[in-house]
């Protein structure tokens, strides 16, 4: 299918400079598999169910509060599941189990970093965010600052993060569909895009949340079963499981220790910073805190989410080792392909398919169908959440508060967000076609760097530091954003691997420790030097903001249905 689309792909590549220009994505072969009826039937059952939910949700979605925040009527447990669902994307399910399959212990290091951001969000961010904001994190960042510049910045940060994350998801969709459903690639990407648009446009946050909850439960059940089967195969002994894995893996004992993922201290710490603080800057996650009634429920959601996510990462780790044990070098699971002129033996469909092949090995065709459908559903749900958050940035921040300066009516705002959803849906489809063969886990890491360097510092300082001014927030935030993107482009992952230069200009793979520090330092410096009258007014408003953030007095309540 691909030869028809190089022009679109090239246009998208040019339009998104610095996003790990995936020139390689255009050179791989698409291999269509025979139609997998189990997977297709189960996927259609899921789709029918979610469309029914969307219909139900559409009848309850009237106001802007319904559309952006499900009317604030989601409970802590439900929201915890939805947050976990947003986080357990296809990229982390397939990407991290693939990383464990390829590198062993390094995969665990990666997932640990994804998890430890959650306690920090609970201790410092969640309740304050709920008490101060309404629909988007820009509500909080711009609480006592000038609306136009701060919201413009926050919307930019949101759209950049969402776009990179969308690429990772759509790449996952493309890969899966080739392998699992035997469906035509383009039409399958179109199905993802169209379904996602239906959920968001008609069902708003209520439908998006329930799709996410259902998928989270399905994924947790499926992954639990796989981990159980793997452990059963190993006689419920981890020692035995590790022994068997070490015997068959080409790297042998090395998979039991930290390896090349963190080749030097600076990179290791920088990756940790990106994963930890990036979580607190992901707009589609932050948005979920506005769907619960109050700070108490917001707090509970993080507790549940941390539990589910932690459990899930332990499962992916077992699944990765299970794939080494039961899939690696097994007949019918491997293929030899030519990459960069070299013959490479890999899993059919690439190593990102480790978890999928394992499903086949432990549960046969029917279970393979189930896991395939779940993986596809995961992409749908996460893409819907991302798109809703991008659309809110366009309609709530840019249109209603920047363009119309807070004077638009609710109807117009909702209409704009629906158009924005459609536009983002089209962009997602085009990106899905353009970036095919990139490692999806790496793309997610990229989104985290940007979130940690642009969104997080501004959000954090707006809540914790009286001295923050508009000038400081906007300039510091943009410095964080551009430095994160620039350093990734000049670093080894893009400059050497993608652009094929000999040596990287910036030596580290993970820029967050530098770009986030730059953002904090410049936000502080510029704010401190800002002695304008406006700046003094902004500082004076901190007391009222602080009291509201601590007590919830004046916070937006839940609407009753």
């Amino acid at each position: 299918m691909k030869p028809q689309f190089p022009r679109i792909a090239a246009a998208v590549l040019l339009a998104t400079p610095g996003l790990a220009l995936a020139a390689d994505a255009l050179s791989g072969e698409v291999k269509r598999q025979p139609l997998n009826w189990h997977a297709i039937i189960m996927f259609f059952i899921f789709v029918a169910g979610t469309l029914a939910i969307t219909y139900w949700a559409a009848r309850r979605t009237r106001s802007a509060s319904d559309f952006y925040a499900a009317g604030g009527g989601i409970s802590g447990l439900q929201n915890g599941l939805a947050i976990a669902g947003d986080y357990m994307s296809a990229a982390s399910f397939l990407g991290i189990s693939a990383m464990v399959y390829e590198k062993g212990y390094d995969g665990l290091i990666y997932s640990m970093g994804f998890l430890v951001g959650w306690p920090i969000i609970l201790f410092l961010v969640a309740e304050r965010l709920r008490n101060l904001g309404k629909y988007t994190f820009a509500d909080v960042a711009s609480y006592r600052l000038q609306q136009t510049p701060v919201r413009s910045f926050a919307a930019t940060g949101t759209l950049v993060t969402v776009t990179i994350y969308l690429i990772a998801q759509m790449v996952g969709a493309g890969k899966l569909i080739q392998l699992l459903f035997g469906m035509n690639y383009i039409s399958a990407v179109l199905i993802v895009g169209v379904l996602m648009m239906l959920y968001v446009v008609f069902g708003g946050m209520l439908a998006t949340t329930w799709v996410q909850i259902i998928k989270a439960v399905m994924l947790l059940c499926g992954a639990s079963f796989m981990a159980f089967m793997v452990l059963r195969h190993a006689g419920f002994s981890f020692e035995h499981m590790f022994q068997m894995a070490v015997t068959v893996h080409a790297k042998g004992l090395a998979i039991m220790s930290p390896g090349g993922l963190v080749s030097n201290p600076v990179d290791a710490i920088s990756l940790g910073v990106a994963l930890m603080f990036g979580t607190a800057g992901l707009p589609h996650i932050l948005m979920r805190f506005f769907t619960v009634a109050d700070a108490r429920e917001a707090r509970k959601s993080v507790f549940y989410a941390t539990g589910f996510i932690g459990y899930f990462y332990i499962l992916t780790f077992i699944i990765g080792f299970g794939a080494i044990m039961l899939v690696l070098n097994q007949p019918g699971m491997m293929e030899t392909v030519v990459k960069n002129g070299k013959q490479v033996t890999q899993l059919i469909g690439g190593n990102n398919m480790a978890a999928i092949h394992l499903a086949d090995a432990v549960g046969g065709d029917l279970f393979l169908g189930f896991i395939s459908a779940v993986a596809f559903a995961t992409i749908l749900a996460v893409v819907a959440g991302l798109t809703l958050s991008g659309a809110s940035a366009v309609s709530h921040d840019l249109y209603a508060n920047v363009f119309r300066r807070g004077r638009s009516n609710e109807k117009d705002e909702i209409r704009v967000s629906k158009y924005a959803t459609l536009a983002l849906g089209v962009v997602a489809i085009l990106l899905g076609i353009a970036f095919e063969n990139q490692n999806v886990a790496f793309m997610v890491g990229l989104a985290f760097s940007v979130a940690a360097s642009a969104n997080f510092p501004v959000l954090f300082l707006s809540m914790f530091w009286r001295g923050l001014t508009t000038r400081g927030a906007v300039m510091g935030g943009f410095i964080g954003l551009t430095s994160a993107v620039l350093l990734i482009v000049l670093g080894p992952t893009v400059w050497v691997d993608v652009l094929k230069h000999k040596e990287a200009i910036f030596p580290y793979k993970n820029p967050a420790i530098f770009s986030m520090t730059l953002a904090f330092v410049f936000t502080w410096l510029i704010s401190a030097l800002d002695t304008s009258k406006a700046a003094n007014d902004e500082k004076a408003k901190f007391d009222a903001q602080f009291v509201r953030s601590m007590t919830g007095i004046g916070a937006t309540g839940a609407s009753k249905h």
Partner: protein
Amino acid sequence: MNDEILKRVQSNPKFVELVHKKTGLGWKLTLIMLVIYYGFILMLAFAPKTLGTPIAAGATTTIGMPIGVLIILSAFVLTGIYVRKANNEFDVLNKQIVEEAKQ
């Protein structure tokens, strides 16, 4: 929120207590999480071999494995501690503050 309510809340000793306790606990637990995680990262960076030590003589399992799982569990436990304390103690205090602000 008008100025009067603001002043009333700020001068309420219970508010001072809430801020003190809540932010205190929040930062304390944050620090613990940071120490656990970056301690691990530093070990990874400067002594990666340590994590590769077998758990017992002749075992394939390395001590890095249980350490990794413990770090994941510690994140969950720390959030549990915070939520428990907040539900039982901070919310009661907060409710009183809100009530007293209305009078």
